[in-house]
Amino acid sequence: MSMTNKMEQKRMHPHKFTLWVAIGSLLMMFAGLTSAFIVKSNQVNWKPVAMPVWFTISTILMLLSSGTMQLALKGFRERVMRNYRLWMWVTLGLGAAFVASQWIGFQELWSKQVTFQGAGAGQFLYVIFGLHALHVIAGVIVLLVMAIRSFVGSVKSYNTVPVEIAATYWHFVDLLWIYLFVFFWVVGGGQ
């Protein structure tokens, strides 16, 4: 770590710092779940799960939304409210589309007899992806509130911190999805 990096850390806004600690905490929850997955995959009657193509589409949507989130942040930093609003709406649209693609993927799995019965990776998939989707939904709601707020009321002081926090959270949810996707792909045997 260079000196400048350390200096930046020192000046970090408390709310941003809180988010980073929260991310650590959320990571522990998913680490707990994925390690439970590994422990259980050594039990008898374990069935791997093949992931539907919809989850690949989810991945593309999520990656795209990270890019658009960054564009929204850029718009806000440069004080081009038109761009900020536009990219916020696109991002939260992509987020909603992500959740929808997850739902369709779940339904496809369910129709292929991957249900809560028996044992196997499928049960974990619903719980882990479901919990991740809940975090995406929370993010979509936050973005929605911020996007609506940018139309109503007057701004007393121009503060980039809330948008930066939302962006960090969004990227975290994106990276978390990549981790889970790869995890299920490699460990869950789901090509």
């Binding site: 970090m12 408390p14 709310h15 710092f17 809180t18 600690v21 929260a22 650590g24 905490s25 959320l26 522990m28 929850m29 998913f30 680490a31 707990g32 779940l33 439970a36 422990v39 259980k40 039990q43 008898v44 009657n45 374990w46 809560f116 019965q117 028996g118 044992a119 196997g120 049960q123 974990f124 719980v127 919990l131």
Partner: protein, 605 residues
């Protein structure tokens, strides 16, 4: 400037200007609701946690008295119990299902609601901003949410006691398959679901709190307050919060999987089960998986409970023996070591679950390693009061009591940490005795010490000393009388959680001992009610605090006005120039942290 008579007004000259937006807090118009109910002031939130914790402690304590009645007098009938509990105490005797419910709620409530939320919720909220020199927490709003999630968790838990089929009764650990199957008993029906929901809310509460504590300690310290100038309670709260933030989410994932197993037919923890003649379709689950997830939180939880008490005891012993804390850096190091080891010992709760013995031996080693930082801390507390000019305030007595209990309870931990001895001792009264002394009673002593010491800061009044001394001596002697004999019971093989041991000839020798324990526990419970009376009486009628710094302490909370408003300091936040333990230095009794180091001063830290 006269160095000796430095008041908080003089201090503010040298103070820096804090973040401009923080000043705004002081000018809010506050209604009753915003000041006392949905308050964002960390001090009020701390008091809310404390008073809610007291209510839960009374409930949890009362439950223990109820099942102690059953254990001490299994043949006796208490008609009054039937009056209150109806069919749960048919014929005036506590019924088995209800007994398990009492044990479960007693454990859950005291471990989580009292000694986690009531202890760190209270003192982290009260002390962190005051002692690091901040106007409030990093996020007062999240802080308020933290309390209200806790409140909600309490409402759900309380309602589970009034459910027709009774509260959760799978023990505070809620091991599946018992807790995962409705068919297994009345207490595994709605009560268990409410327990899981309540705990999930509680976990959210403690995460929101923990995030705030960490962010505040690392980000909001006043000028000059370097990390090695932090008072020890703050360090302890910091490690507590780190433990909580990293381990509670794992319990949450365990609880979510259990909810799925209970309600949606998944088989995370269930496999090949026949219950009441019915063969269940579940396959491939692992009950041990839950134990891993549970104890990955469960063991750090022990230190979540203990560390705040350790921190406050360090502070109180130093202040009241008018001596610097012995080995400040060793205290930090041992806190850090405990924090790391806390994550590496969880399987010592699982020695007899079929854990690989070679793996078990690794956990034995790591478990016994905790004795090292624990011994360092004990040594430092004793050397801190050694040849000190001790003021035996109630807080000091409780702090010394904490050290005594921590030693007694810690030593039996060495027995239990050995997997071979644990084969004999696990699930006996020995375990009950061990964790009640080292974690339960000791942390309660830390909490009482904290309440007696910081009550003047919380309410601007003192607690009544006569009642406090009675409270101390009854609790101190009573705790040993209650828990010491349980070691012998455990060594003789008496199992825990049995409501009636008359049927076993080998466990029959302790009937009179059990009676004695029951009588003492009623007396000790009465002493706690005396404390509760003292607490609420003194809020309104206690002797008023007249000086800003009644204990002659160095830390920043005593530079605030006697009854600080939201924002804590009236002027600027004071600047810190030294560590908090300059007691009895250069012929002066104490030198507050706000006083610049003099040119002639001897070097200490």
């Amino acid at each position: 400037m006269n160095e000796a008579v430095k008041t908080s007004a003089a201090v503010s000259e040298g103070a820096h200007v804090a973040h401009p937006h923080e000043q705004a807090h002081e000018h809010h118009h506050e209604t009753f609701v915003s000041k006392y109910i949905f308050s964002m002031d960390h001090k009020t939130i701390g008091k809310q946690f404390l008073i809610t914790g007291i209510v839960w402690a009374i409930i949890g304590g009362l439950f223990s008295v109820l099942f102690r009645l059953q254990l001490g007098y299994p043949e006796e009938s208490f008609p009054i119990l039937e009056t209150f509990f109806g069919e749960w105490a048919k014929g005036g005797q506590i019924q088995p299902e209800f007994y398990y419910g009492l044990v479960t709620i007693h454990g859950t409530v005291l471990v989580f609601f009292v000694l986690t939320a009531g202890l760190s919720g209270t003192f982290a909220n009260l002390l962190i901003p005051l002692q690091v020199g901040a106007r409030d927490m990093a996020s007062p709003f999240l802080n308020m949410l933290s309390y209200w999630f806790f409140f909600l968790a309490g409402v759900v838990m309380l309602s589970s006691i009034f459910v027709h089929t009774g509260p959760a009764s799978g023990g505070w650990t809620m091991y599946p398959p018992l807790s995962a199957l409705r068919q297994a008993g009345d207490g595994q029906k709605l009560g268990a679901d409410l327990w899981l929901i309540s705990m999930s809310l509680f976990i959210i509460s403690s995460l929101l709190g923990g995030l705030n504590y960490i962010a505040t300690i690392l980000n909001m310290r006043t000028k000059g307050m370097s990390m090695t100038r932090l008072p020890l309670p703050i360090w302890a709260m910091f490690f507590t919060a780190v433990l909580g933030v990293l381990s509670f989410p794992v319990l949450l994932s365990g609880a979510i999987l259990l909810l799925f197993d209970r309600n949606l037919g998944t088989s995370f923890y269930l496999s090949d089960i026949v219950v009441n003649g019915e063969i269940l379709p579940n396959e491939g689950g692992s009950a041990i998986l839950y134990q891993h997830l549970f104890w990955f939180l469960g063991h750090p939880e022990v230190y979540i409970i203990l560390l705040p008490a350790m921190g406050m005891v360090s502070e109180i012993l130093s202040v009241n023996s008018r001596k610097p804390i012995f080995g400040y850096m060793a205290m930090l190091g041992s806190l850090f070591a405990i924090c790391i080891l806390a994550f590496l010992v969880w399987a010592h709760h699982m020695f007899v679950t079929g854990l690989n013995p070679f793996l078990g031996s690794v956990f034995v080693l790591l478990t016994l390693l905790i004795a090292v930082p624990s011994a360092i801390k004990v040594f430092n507390w004793i050397t801190t009061i050694w040849r000190g000019n001790i003021r035996f305030t109630p807080a000091t007595l409780f702090a010394i009591g904490f050290v005594s209990l921590f030693i007694s309870g810690g030593l039996t931990g060495i027995f239990l940490g050995n997997s071979t001895i644990d084969i004999h001792l696990h699930d006996t009264m020995f375990v009950v005795a061990h964790f009640h002394i080292v974690m339960g009673v000791a942390s309660f002593f830390g909490m009482f010490a904290g309440v007696y010491h910081w009550f003047p800061k919380m309410f601007g009044r003192y607690l009544n000393n006569t009642m406090a001394y009675m409270h101390f001596w009854v609790t101190m002697i009573g705790s040993y009388l209650i828990f010491w004999p349980m070691h012998y019971q455990g060594l003789a093989g008496v199992p825990r959680r049995y409501l009636d041991k008359r049927g076993w000839v080998s466990f029959n020798d302790f009937a009179d001992l059990d009676k004695m324990i029951t009588v003492v526990s009623i007396v000790v419970f009465a002493a706690q009610l005396l404390f509760v009376f003292n607490f609420f009486y003194s809020i309104f009628k206690g002797r008023k605090v007249r000086t800003a710094n009644p204990w002659g302490a160095n830390t920043l909370e005593w530079t605030t006005p006697i009854r600080p408003g939201h924002g804590n300091w009236e002027g600027d936040i004071p600047e810190v120039h030294r560590w908090p333990y300059d007691y009895g230095k250069d012929g002066r009794e104490f030198i507050p942290q706000t006083e610049p180091v003099g040119a002639q001063e001897t070097k200490s830290h």
